[in-house]
């Protein structure tokens, strides 16, 4: 444990509301290297509040890297400079005394800013509502072991299902594409026997919804994979594209 405090300059995006202009505001902080990035913001907010100034609005919940609520762009990287972790798991020991840190919201056409660092990511839910499920009613399921699934297939599905729905992939992409997210969701169910009956309808409805919502196209820059806190593989995109093609050949256009 290191008790020497770090002195940092923060340039934080402040924007009072969706329709107001925003700008970077500078703050000086002194913080323990053991604190997490969000704990540093907590401290700063506490200080602002005690001066009767409005705290910086940012979102987080589990602070364990799993709920997908937190997510800000730190020095140009969604979730910060350390690969494979969410913002809440970024600790200040990764920064150096005297650093200047730029903090801004996820930026994408489909993610409008609500306030300061908070954006509206509900478009991702709209995509899920379009078809990200298996149609099975409560109480009509066969015994769990009646559907044997090879261990490697189950873990491949699990790897895809690990996506926390944070939207960093969208923020990382210069086209603001949601391909990594959608393909992770598609792969999870497409790999499992339970997902087969609706496999090709699902890919069509979800892709269609994604396009409608103003996400860009994928131009294979791989920025999404690099910034994804869960290391979701772009192989999922290839899988999704293949399923999409097959779907086009197999089924009628969905409404």
């Amino acid at each position: 444990m290191n008790n020497k405090k770090l002195n940092l300059t923060l340039k934080i995006w402040r924007q009072p509301g969706p329709n107001s202009a925003g700008s970077f505001v500078e703050y000086k902080v002194s913080v323990s290297p053991d604190a997490s990035f969000l704990e540093m913001l907590d401290e700063l907010n506490n200080e602002l509040e005690s001066k009767n100034l409005e705290p910086i609005a940012f979102e987080s919940d589990c602070r364990e890297g799993i709920c997908g609520t937190c997510g800000i762009v730190i020095n140009g990287h969604p979730h910060g400079p350390i690969p494979r972790i969410a913002t809440c798991q970024l600790h200040m020991r990764n920064f150096k005394d005297g650093d200047t840190i730029w903090v801004e919201p996820f930026r994408a056409r489909a993610f409008p800013v609500i306030k300061d660092l908070i954006v509206d990511r509900s478009a991702l839910d709209r995509i899920m509502e379009a078809g990200g499920f298996i149609s099975v009613n409560t109480g009509s399921a066969p015994d769990g072991n009646a559907i044997p699934i090879p261990k490697d297939i189950a873990s491949e599905a699990m790897d895809a299902a690990t996506c926390i729905g944070c939207g960093a992939c969208v923020a990382a992409c210069k086209n603001a594409s949601a391909m990594l997210f959608v393909s992770a969701k598609i792969s999870h169910l497409a790999l499992l026997p339970q997902g087969q009956p609706e496999r090709y309808i699902r890919v069509q409805t979800m892709v269609k919804k994604m396009d409608e919502l103003g996400f860009g196209a994928c131009s294979n820059t791989y920025a999404c994979e690099a910034e994804c806190p869960k290391g979701i593989s772009i192989l999922n995109i290839a899988r999704m594209n293949r399923d999409y093609l097959v779907a086009k050949l197999k089924t009628e256009e969905v409404e």
Binding site: S50, G132, F133, G139, M158
Partner: protein
């Protein structure tokens, strides 16, 4: 107020079957005439929304999160129990039932617990069908592991992300109903009051967290599935936004609050390491399958753990509880850790004990350990900067789960007709201590398999009418909450909301935490009252009510904690016995084990709200028809 548990007559194993048969049904054509409000999209809320939508009801579901998928259930790591006996190791519905009753130190309702065990198998089937990628054996069959308080392997899991995968399953089932138009989702809405008219729950008032507007919604029945309130301790394993507001406001409108003092302290959390720390991170209990817990035999031993030789290590759980060892239940393991730390034998002088994988790595190889716990090890390293493959983890108990909550009968209905409560928000199934991997089970049991029946029965028998939101009573409720908000904003004092919350947390942890005494509890009650006064005189809530204001959101929640904290202390003070997670130092055996008093305290303590700081106690006697009350032994 009368507490009628409505437990059906007849043998334990037939109660639920008979009850289902005897309940009234709503005809399919009439279901669409009924509106149901659900608050919460965790496992309990999302599963209820999906199932009730499928049946044909019109469901409105609310969450303060931006997305339904973010509910705290997402964070559960370890697993979910079910009595499938796939491992052929002697599991059965009765054994799961018995383990749960015993784990809860005989302070839960027998019939509810039996039903929970009974439907547990269906939960796994349901989740598999939805595509939840549970861990599998090489033959393609579902894999299991074991958890504290059980000698069989009945825990199903999906890596260390079981909660996430189960919630995504329920969320997807709910999404299907959203697409079909049967469920309407209201995100970024916080329920701030329950509307009770003529003694019946008629709807809710929510704050739109983006616009600040207060909105009114009415329904034929309201379900609260709003999770637990461990954040009353400020530092806990719960997500930052977990809170008591929904159930607390309902309590103040007439719903009895049961067993508020039963808070589970989880033994395996990453210890406190900094003064600005915002929460405590849980390391899954599943780690105790292979990790061994120890401290040095020597007081004040500051040596690096790897330099402490085998004969100077005290594997205190294995020593004291040879049968269950490192898998002893949470209350027992937590207390044992506190004991060795209090003796001055904490890991390198800290409030911590070691959780060591050295032997497991030697026995099974690093690869197997990586496969089993890899992501947990990574998480530990990210947070602490230490590599658990090389150095034993340090862990310590932290507030984790609240067994208390709103009182409900067998149908999960509170003392307010039309108000149902599910998941961690109710009190019913875990008694004085919850065994690992059974909260997820309870949330899904309530939402998938119990409420769909009991809500139908309520609607068919009571035939409640719908009260329009233009009704003057609705406006009265809305006006009250507007006034309350205005009051919060107009204190304009000197202290931040968080500083008061932290102060409350310290009182709660020190005096209403792992060990409680009469004197400490009396002090706590006074200190909480003083702090409450301080809050209303000296808090500073910055910003306005007319837009997104997180300071205001937190202030409302802390205001509720300041009332709830007092009730928790009062409840702990009146219960002159030790049971499960409630350890009163005055009531222990010579060996320091909890000393229950079944003669006088085999009841549920349900508190009726009178005014702030004043409650009336009602007792629901616990009747054990099938199990024999026995001293818990894990030796």
């Amino acid at each position: 107020m009368t507490l009628d548990s409505k437990v059906p007559a007849g043998p334990l194993k037939d109660k639920w079957e008979n009850h289902k048969f005897n309940m009234k049904l709503v005809s399919p054509a009439n279901k669409r005439k009924y509106d149901i409000i659900i608050v919460g999209t965790g496992l309990a809320g999302a599963s209820a929304a999906a199932s009730l939508g499928e049946l044909g009801y019109n469901v409105k579901v609310f969450t303060y999160h931006d997305s339904a998928r973010r509910a705290h259930s997402i964070a559960a790591q370890g697993g979910i129990n079910a009595a499938k006996n796939y491992q052929n190791d002697g599991d059965s519905v009765y054994r799961l039932f018995y383990d749960t009753i015993k784990g809860g130190d005989f302070r839960s309702r027998e019939a509810n617990v039996y039903r929970l065990a009974e439907v547990s198998g269906n939960i796994i089937d349901q989740c598999v069908a939805q595509g939840v990628p549970f861990a599998r054996e090489y033959g393609g069959m579902l894999d299991n592991r074991s958890f504290g308080g059980a000698l069989v392997s009945r825990t199903f899991y999906a890596k260390g992300q079981t909660g996430q995968q189960l919630l995504l399953g329920a969320y997807s089932a709910m999404n299907r109903q959203i697409k079909l138009g049967k469920v309407k989702l209201y995100a970024r809405r916080e329920m701030v009051d329950l509307v009770v008219i003529d003694g019946i729950a008629r709807g809710i008032i929510v704050r739109n967290l983006v616009t600040g507007e207060f909105e009114k919604y009415s329904a034929h029945a309201v379900i609260l599935a709003t999770g637990g309130y461990s954040n009353v301790f400020f530092l806990s394993t719960n997500a930052m936004n977990c809170n008591a507001t929904a159930i607390w406001r309902a309590h103040k409108r007439g719903a009895a609050f049961a067993n508020p003092c039963f808070t589970q302290i989880h033994p395996t959390c990453i210890p406190l390491h900094g003064e600005v720390q915002s929460k405590l991170t849980l390391m899954s209990e599943s780690l105790r399958n292979d990790g061994r817990i120890w401290v040095s035999k020597i007081k004040g031993d500051m040596r690096h753990p790897n330099d402490i030789p085998e004969e100077e290590r005290d594997y205190f759980l294995e020593r004291k509880y040879p049968t269950y060892g490192n898998l002893s239940p949470r209350d027992i393991s937590s207390r044992a850790a506190k004991e060795v730390v209090d003796e001055g034998r904490g890991a390198q002088g800290q409030e911590a004990v070691y959780l060591d994988f050295r032997d497991a790595i030697n026995r099974l190889g690093r690869k197997v350990i990586e496969e089993r716990y890899g992501n947990l090890f990574e998480m530990y390293k990210t947070i602490t900067g230490e590599d658990p493959y090389e150095v034993p983890m340090k862990i310590y108990p932290a507030p984790h789960y609240t067994m208390g909550g709103l009182w409900v009968d067998y149908n999960l209905m509170s003392t307010i007709p039309g108000l149902f409560v599910a998941g961690e928000a109710n009190f019913s199934d875990h008694g004085a201590n919850r065994l690992g991997a059974s909260a997820l089970m309870q949330g899904l049991a309530d939402g998938y398999f119990i409420l769909p029946y009991t809500i139908g029965n309520y609607l068919a028998t009571e035939k409640p009418s719908l009260i329009n939101i233009d009704h003057p009573e609705f406006d009265k409720f809305k006006k009250e909450i507007e006034d309350f908000t205005h009051k919060l904003l107009s204190v304009k004092g000197k202290r931040t909301v968080d500083s008061i919350h932290k102060q409350l947390g310290r009182i709660m942890w020190n005096k209403v935490g792992m060990a409680r005494s009469e004197q400490g509890l009396k002090e706590a009650i006074n200190e909480i009252r003083e702090l409450r006064e301080e809050f209303w005189k000296n808090v500073n809530v910055v910003g306005s009510a007319n837009d997104l204001n997180q300071c205001l959101e937190r202030a409302g929640r802390v205001a509720d904690y300041l009332e709830l904290g007092e009730l928790m202390a009062i409840d702990a003070l009146h219960r002159n016995e030790s049971c499960g997670a409630h350890f009163r130092v005055e009531y222990q055996t010579e060996e320091g084990e909890a000393l229950r008093n079944d003669e006088e305290y085999a009841y549920v303590a349900a508190w009726e709200f009178k005014e702030i700081g004043k409650w009336e106690l009602h007792k629901e006697p616990l009747v054990f028809e099938t199990v024999q009350l026995a001293t818990r032994s894990y030796k």
